[in-house]
Amino acid sequence: MYMVFDDLETTDQELISDILPSPYIGLMDELDEMIAVIDSDMRIVRTNLAFLRTLEAATDKLAGKDVWLVLCPDQGKELTASIMNRMRISRSTRAEIQLGGGGPGSRIIDLDIKQVRSNGSIDGWILTGKDLTDRGQIVRELEEVRDDLSTLFEGVNECVLQVRDGKIIDWNRTASTRLSFPGTEMMGLGLSSILTSYKNEGINGKPNSFGDIPDGIYRCLTRDGRDFPAEVHAVTSSKGSGYVFIRDVTSQIKKETRMKLLAEVVETTDDAIIVTDGELVITSVNRGLEAMFGEERKDLVGKTLGDVGFLISTSRTLDELSGKISRGETWSGYVKVKVPSDEEREVSMMAWPIMSATDHGIATIIHLRDITDRLSMERNLELMSSLLSHDVKNFDRAITDNLEMLKMGIYGELDDRKSRVVDRILGQSRELNALLKNARSILQSWEGEVKLEPLDLRSMIHWAADMVSSSYSARRLEIEIDLKDGPVLVMADMLLKDVFQNLIDNSMKNSVDDTVISIKGEAIGPEGYRLYIKDNGKGIPVEMSERLFDRFTSTGGTGSGLGLYLVKRLIERYGGSIELDKREDACFRIDLVRSKKEYELVLNTIEPREQRSLGDLKIIRYTRYGEVFFKVGSWTYGQKEIGSLSKTELVERFGWNLACAIKKATSDIHIDGTFRYDLDGRQFRIVES
């Protein structure tokens, strides 16, 4: 259109009209731009429809009017005079005017004014106007968007850089802080000053080329010489400007590294691991499972647990597992499996559900471990323990018994020599008995789980002393017990008596005459109890002190060397420790864990049976369920009527750790009521029912 007008040459006003034949006039009306033809006096000759629409005028109102009065009635004469001057001088003039005077609804018009000349004089002008109002609005809106973006970017945790031609022109607060560029120091920096690939090259070899930043992980450099891994995303315009978003992914990469390590561990462990989805369909397995069952993972993925060939399980087991998993609970149990050699193995299995935030199961991790060999070993141990506990023990006792009968003279009097031989054999037999006993205890300490319960320390010590002194009928054993902060309940099991039996027996062996053992105790902190055990024996040689608790280290007597080994093993089983007290000769220092809970003793009301009465009660154990077991000291029934004692007398007589029979044969105590152990006051109180 401009070229048509530029080429226009005519002589007078009519010709201007003439040279715009109807098609061109029609065409003018099609255009969105405002077009006006004005004469040499700057009066409107003709306009197009867009011109009229913009001015909201009818055709006949404008013809012949001064164009500047029409377009700029409110604007200053200087502006219009300046435009008019330029129009006369230049063949092409540009001007920007405001229709409507700048108030609301005013429009910005960009005017392009071309002279029409003939024979060296100006015949008129063609005036073309573009309404820039909306564009301006768009620009303003864009500027507002840009301001909003700036505000938004200020608040994000990512570094945001505004870049033009590869150079930084603006940034958010996070970028300034994280990259350690105070003030305006980042202004004008090239991106390659901040971002580099991990191969220490520039960004695709073109450090300042903004358009060449593919999304990915880069090394982001800070002003103070540090760097961090960053995920970079660039949003560019077509003119080399835009925004670069930089997110510190250090913790994400650490997490991914940890996950990779974990995955490596899972993959390489010998145990079998199966991962399923929320429906228990296998999604992956590890190498351990492939090795254990000779199955390739590709053959297992997609199957359910019930479909895999190696699992010999009942549908009940799988239903139970499925039920627990769907409730978000862990399942554990033992299952039988078939291995490649067609052998059946026993496997422990645990399944953990992974739940989504909405408590929906999204995955399950199943761990399997072959425990066949372990179970076999445990069964062998049980068998050995049983043999030692019963059969071997019986034979051993029978030997001792026969020897004792020989010594008693049942088979006739023995001369001195024969008597000495019998004594020697009896001594050896007792040693064998002690060895077998310790061996049994060691086996028991290996068997099964450790189940500890509160035991009365004083009772255990007395019991052990009774057992030992009965083997040394010709010698006297005196035990001085001073347990502070009592009554003392320690966490142990029935083998605790073996601890004291061994220690007391050691003292007896290592002393020549009567044995005096001192046992002192005190609380250490709220959870510990310390014992100092010392005897009047000859002490322990210094060179032995380091190996004292090793197996088969004898303390110089006739022992097998298992006693102190067993003592240490058992005490450590209870979470305690034993060592020689450095301050004193031949003094053991034992630390045990004290029971914390307050226990309520509930004694059953039991009908008395016949007029059987019981001998002295020996405290056996106290369980966490509030039941205390006792056993008659020697299965001898004396004449005492325990049932006639009152509750208070019974407690006073036997101490707080009162025995309560649950085995009917010994249930001759007729007691009812509740006894409560007050931990704070360390008092045993009777609460009347």
């Binding site: 009968m405 008693m408 020697s634 299965w635 001898t636 029934y637 044969a665």
Partner: protein, 131 residues
């Protein structure tokens, strides 16, 4: 004259031991059997003053034998001779001792404990034995 005793014990050496000891303290051993069913028959035939009853035996065990003897002879004195001693944790045999006592045994003693045996016999036969 001391009490007439029937010894029920499946292990011969142990039975001989018990035999020797009881005789030494003045008892009269009138029979030795090796299992519970023999014990029941022997009691019917011999009517001993005392039965020393082992617990773990092949065939009929000591608990069943005690029950059978006591239910048919309310005056019977069956004394359980167990291998358990003070401080032993034999759960199963403990349970059997309990059941035997419930079935009517007059007491239980460790068969290897001379003191224990003496005390029981003193209790049961204070006039017949000069101990």
């Amino acid at each position: 004259m001391g009490p007439r005793v029937l010894i029920v014990e499946d292990q011969t050496p142990v039975a001989e031991q018990i035999n020797d000891f009881l005789e030494w303290i003045g008892c009269r051993i009138i029979g030795r059997v090796k299992d519970g069913s023999e014990a029941v028959s022997a009691y019917n035939d011999l009517s001993p003053d005392l039965v020393t009853m082992d617990l773990v035996m092949p065939g009929m065990n000591g608990v069943e034998a005690t029950k059978s003897i006591v239910s048919n002879h309310s005056e019977a004195k069956v004394l359980i001779f167990t291998s358990l001693d003070v401080g032993d944790n034999g759960e199963e045999e403990n349970e059997m001792v309990t059941k035997a006592l419930e079935a009517g045994a007059v007491g239980a003693v460790c068969k290897f404990s001379k003191d224990g045996i003496l005390k029981e016999l003193k209790r049961l036969f204070p006039d017949e034995l000069d101990l």
